[in-house]
Amino acid sequence: MEATTTPVGCKMLEIKELAVEVEGKEIIKDLNLCIERGEVHVLFGPNGCGKTTLLMAILGVPTYTITKGRILFKDIDITNLPTNERVELGLGVSFQHPPEIRGVTLGDMVNIALDRKGEKIDERVIELGKRLNISAEFLHRDVNRGFSGGEVKRSEILQLLAQAPEFIMFDEPDSGVDVENIELIGDLMNELLGREKIPSQRERAGLVITHSGFILNYLKPDRAHVMLDGQIACSGMPDEVSKEIMEEGFERCVELCGKQVCAE
């Protein structure tokens, strides 16, 4: 019952009046979002509504130009920081379609995430890999090259386990994953986000983008938002919002949402 929980600690991520352009076209307009420490939010929305753009803007990818507004992370204004400095502050992301890099293995990527230099695959990487059914052999493959949908997700999660960010964004963690893998991915997302702890002791936070909502069978977020046309059209309890979307579609959900769920 979210009405009874009062925010504790500082704000993890705060987005104020954000506008983002891609190649001269405004994709996000006047977006506001606040995620507290310990919270996981889910972002619904149809394809092309700006979900990934929002993630990329938070990550600081230069092709996503911020024309207005500010992004605060742990009370630090990161609006103009390069990606790696945001990452150093504790930001992490699981990509939906990460690029393949020739000659750079998954093991290399995990070493980088661990801040380890050198060729040798760190022992810890092998250990982490085991939990994801990732063999030592797989670690020697060029990252994302010929990976299946499920392999991409597991590879992304492995890198995040090594990186251990405080705030993690997941771009469609449930797309292209078979039923067996989705449970494993859900479990590990819960672990990455520190969900095993009781709410008041949770330290980490996250933002999950999902088109289908499948992942919500395994991960229970604290809050849900629906994004339409580059804005957060409504927010509410995840179960209720997702139920409305499934039954009525995005547009109708926003209408209903305005009346019932978002009565704060």
């Binding site: 990606t83 992490g92 890099i101 020739r102 750079v104 290399d108 990527m109 980088i112 995430a113």
Partner: protein, 408 residues
């Protein structure tokens, strides 16, 4: 006229003959004579000054994990020793005196009148090495050979003969290097390789030249039945101009060859290089892989030719280039020629820049933009070296890393 006289006459006639490829070099502007250097009783005696230059070409003066060493400084063979039985290593000049039959291996697949450079090597030969593995001899530890230039403005004309007798295995690391004190020089090298039935040669060559050095190697390889020839070439340091197009003739059944080249072209280098394979033995196979990075004002032509002249042969060419500057130039020329129906030849070539999304991906794992670019370049050049014994593969990797450290 004796055979030798005929060869000399042909060479004389080809003295002014320009090469088919590459910028023309005025040979005479480089000095033919060089001061003799004293022989060394151990490689370690080489001047400390030169040690680093040799190390950069993969030559280890301590001879650790090497089965033998050959060092030619300018025109003098200053060290030549092999540590294991079953192998021979000496100056080609000495070998020709020792073995009468060796002359039959000279100018076999490289006509002496190919161009002015082959002619010059015949007419003004300054040693070169002769390496031979006796039948059945298998030494997995490599022989190292180093052709070193330490005198300014000279020309070095070597003729190398490498023979792996039947069912033998021979691994060679060769470093061509120049002292950091040399501003200009010309290196001409003729190399003839013979891989007999069931034999295997791996040849890993590191070029460590300088911005004023011109280089024109001429190489041919003959691979007999079930023979294997693997060549790895690394060029990461500046060079004024380099043109080479080594040709491997797979004459035997199931002969196999792999050629991998890694080139990092900087400054005003003019490089025209590649590999050609002629598949003449049934079931023979060729793979040509090249990775080229071009920056500054470097001009690179990366070639790959495979000719399929008999049944059931397979050949593949993969040329990739990465552009790091707008003033560099890369031309990638893969070429296939088939004269039989039942064969399989293919190629892929790609030229591009460092992909932005790859940079962003690496940055999202904590690397700065520059670090990310360097990881991508490293990965791009990181060709899997196959067919080498494990220790040698490790060593080659180390050599590659070392040359990379130098440029990045």
């Amino acid at each position: 006229m004796t055979e030798k006289e005929e060869i000399i006459e042909r060479a004389v006639r080809a003295r002014e003959k320009k090469a088919a490829l590459g910028e023309d070099v005025a040979i005479d502007q480089y000095i033919a004579e060089a001061q003799e250097h004293q022989a060394l009783s151990s490689l370690d005696e080489i001047a400390t000054d030169y040690k680093q230059d040799m190390l950069h070409a993969g030559v280890d003066p301590s001879e650790k994990d090497r089965s033998g060493s050959f060092l030619q400084q300018d025109h003098s063979v200053v060290f030549s020793r092999v540590k294991y039985p079953g192998m021979e290593l000496m100056s080609t000049t000495d070998a020709l005196k020792k073995y009468d039959w060796l002359k039959d291996y000279m100018w076999q697949k490289i006509p002496v009148d190919t161009d002015k450079y082959t002619a010059e090597v015949e007419l003004g030969q300054t040693h070169g090495y002769f390496i031979r593995a006796e039948p059945g001899s298998k030494v997995t530890m490599p022989i190292q050979s180093c052709l070193f230039i330490s005198t300014d403005k000279i020309r070095q004309n070597v003729h190398n003969i490498i023979i792996a007798e039947e069912n033998s295995e021979l691994h060679i690391i060769t470093g061509c290097s120049v002292s950091h004190t040399v501003n200009s020089a010309l290196h001409l090298g003729v190399s003839e390789f013979y891989v007999k039935k069931g034999a295997k040669i791996t040849f890993t060559m590191v070029h460590n030249w300088g911005g004023g050095i011109e280089v024109r190697p001429r190489t041919a390889v003959v691979v007999e039945d079930d023979g294997v020839f693997i060549s790895n070439y690394i060029l990461m340091t500046p060079v004024k101009s380099l043109q080479m197009f080594p040709t491997t003739y797979c004459v035997g059944r199931n002969a196999r060859t792999t050629s991998q080249s890694i080139v990092y072209a900087t400054g005003n280098a003019k490089i025209d290089m590649g590999a050609k394979v002629v598949l003449q033995g049934e079931g023979s196979k060729a793979e040509i892989v090249s990775r080229v990075i071009a920056t500054d004002n470097a001009k690179v032509i990366a070639r790959g030719d495979v000719y399929g002249e008999t049944e059931h042969v397979k050949g593949h060419i993969e040329c990739r280039a990465l552009m790091l500057s707008d003033t560099a130039e890369v031309e990638s020329i893969p070429s296939l020629r088939a004269t039989r129906r039942d064969l399989e030849l293919s190629h892929e070539a790609a030229v591009g820049k460092i992909a932005e999304d790859e940079i962003r991906y690496l940055m999202s794992r904590g690397l700065s933009e520059d670090e990310a670019a360097s990881v991508i370049i490293r990965g791009f050049l990181n060709v899997d070296i196959t067919g080498l014994p494990e220790a040698l593969a490790r060593e080659t990797k180390k050599m590659f890393e070392m040359s990379l450290e130098k440029v990045m």
